[in-house]
Amino acid sequence: MAAERRPPRGSTIVPGLAYSALGLRTLTVIWLTVSLTLVGLALWRGHLWLWVAVGLWWIGTGYDAWRRLEGRRPRLWPAVLIALAAIYGVGWEVTEIHPLAPFERFDKMRPYLIALTQPDLLTYPTERQVLRIPVEVPCIHAPSPKEVRGEARVWLSADCAQPGDLLTLHGEGFPTGPSLELWWVNPIGERQRILQEGRPLSPQVDTMGRFQTTFIAPRAVPLGFEPPPGQSQTHFLELHIVRVIGGPRPSEALLEVAEKMGETVAIALLATTFAVLIAAPLSFLAARNLMGGSPLTRLIYYAMRGFLNIVRSVEPLIFGIVFVVWVGLGSFAGMLALMVHSIAALGKLFSEVVEHIDPGPVEALTATGANRLQVIRYAVVPQVVPEFVSFAVYRWDINVRMSTIIGFVGGGGIGFRLSEWIRLSAYRQVATAVIGIALVVMALDYVSAQVRRRIV
């Protein structure tokens, strides 16, 4: 009987038709979808090899369909392999995968990694004594050595320089205790630390009170204030003699990170609390076991479910951007963004908790003549509260992590400051912030795990 109804072998020229004729509906749909996808990819990227893949897919599925017609075992895997190769090939290309980039561009990352070992945590109150040596940039005359006398004496190898020139500084009569710093000040007063191999230069004074150091004159000519051709500007080399006067205290960055971290935790706390207060009642409306009674309640159930699913699918970051526009930059916008997302996320979780309660007590209290609210209050609420609390604590934990990100779009907290520091290349401050975030998140993670373990 099957033999009589066997479709003609010619139909394998279009494998989908053969599948359809064989009554393999799912396979027909898959074949059609994959074929359209591959053709679409080939049209989009325009590569020859994609057209070859389309052809091979066609042949591969045709072969499979022919085998099925012959009553032999299907063999679809070569065609599947070709389709996957084409899809991943395009994916690889579109993602611009560059496996060597992390190694080749490691120098971009190095300052951050170095800074992580020396975060900006403590400062020592200092007193600085400054020796200023004028330097003409560029040289419009033959350079000659320059001497400056104070309590100590310093010589600079040249009184004029081009950016990139090698200069030597040596000094005599320095005390051995204080550390030395070299700064370059341009004509409009912008000050930069002189670096050597990317690290601040700090000459060492020997036991005789002398030091010598060589450095490169930095590129410090201010944009828009370039000297006219043939003229020079006066820059200053500053030698700071830095004496520590007193014990360590928290650095400005540390204080700021601590304060903003507190703000971040508070934003997350309020967002979570408000979200719980709103999500808890909503979750009862989104629980099938409580709302399955009449068509009206079932309508509310579906509406609630739909609402929660839609809101939940929007990333908090997007809400962050929306609320920053709506209520203005700052913590309030961040809090609202987290709250809205949390309402949906918690509402869904809570409703699932409600759906998985033991129906026994509900039945028992209904049988005593209790009304619907009484049944919820005495049979449902006691069963769900511990799990609600557990999910809420977990959500708070998530929200702390999330609110650091929301800060990047202007939602307040540590993220806002961190994004600024990243833009300013303030590596050590970035390190302080990153360490602060990591510590707080780890601590909260631990606390929330403990709370959840005790409750459930």
Partner: protein
């Protein structure tokens, strides 16, 4: 003021016919055992009487009131006079024993105050008396899930006592318990029946318990009433009618 069950039928949405035209009348003060195999319709019958399950057709009339036609408000008034105890006890496990007992009174107290968790002192005293009656007064502040199975079922009885019921529906009240505990639980139910004159409808598995406690037996098979009479009328032939040809009698 009898309980009249009139051609009660229940067909579940999946097409299962759990009850088919079951009719009987129970006089005040009877202790009726309902027997039958698992799935014979015992639980459905009990739940159709207080409409935890809506019957498909037929009527239940109690004290002259048609329960099957009652409005939601009337139904709550009726339910609060019908106690019910369950095979799985159906206590709120995380609540205290006292709270569990007090919930039996929800149909009587001020609903709004009860939502705030408030019960008048007189009701708390009533709950303590109910617990004393089942011998658990000293466990009032324990969480329900800290109690043994037998103790939990006694809490279930105390909860039903709070309703001052005139009718008690008991759905396999001892099936989840050690057989040695079965008598202690059934004696409390018997006492309610004899002393307080509460009518009892109780589904039971073991025939020896039926003989010991019931004044009347209703046998169900595949949702149809196949026996209605005194316990001592169940002979081998009747037994096989109720439980099927392959069943063997064990014990009493």
């Amino acid at each position: 003021m009898p309980l009249i069950v009139d051609r009660l039928t229940k067909i579940y949405p999946d097409g299962t016919r759990a009850l088919h035209e079951v009719s009987f009348t129970v006089e005040d003060g009877e202790f009726v055992a309902i027997i039958g195999l698992s799935g014979a319709g015992k639980s459905t019958l009990l739940r159709c009487i207080n409409r935890l399950i809506e019957p498909t057709s037929g009527r239940v009339i109690w004290n002259g009131i048609d329960i099957t036609a009652a409005s939601p408000r009337e139904l709550r008034k009726i339910r609060r006079q019908i106690g019910m105890i369950f095979q799985q006890f159906n206590l709120v496990k995380r609540a205290t024993v006292l709270t569990n007992v007090l919930t039996g009174r929800l149909g009587y107290v001020n609903p709004w105050l009860s939502l705030l968790g408030y019960f008048p002192p007189s009701e708390v005293q009533r709950a303590m008396r109910a617990l004393e009656r089942v011998g658990l007064a000293d466990l009032a502040d324990k969480r329900a899930d800290e109690l043994s199975g037998g103790q939990q079922q006694r809490v279930g009885i105390a909860r039903a006592l709070m309703q001052e019921p005139r009718l008690l529906l008991a759905d396999e009240p001892v099936a989840s318990l050690d057989p040695v505990l079965a008598h202690s639980i059934l004696r409390y139910i018997e006492e309610l029946n004899r002393k307080d004159g509460v009518t009892v409808l109780c589904s039971l598995h073991f025939l020896d318990l039926v003989h010991r406690y019931a004044t009347r037996v209703i046998g169900l098979k595949d949702g149809i009433k196949v026996f209605d009479g005194r316990p001592d009328e169940i002979d081998d032939r009747r037994f096989k009618e109720i439980y099927g040809q392959e069943a063997e009698r064990i014990g009493g």
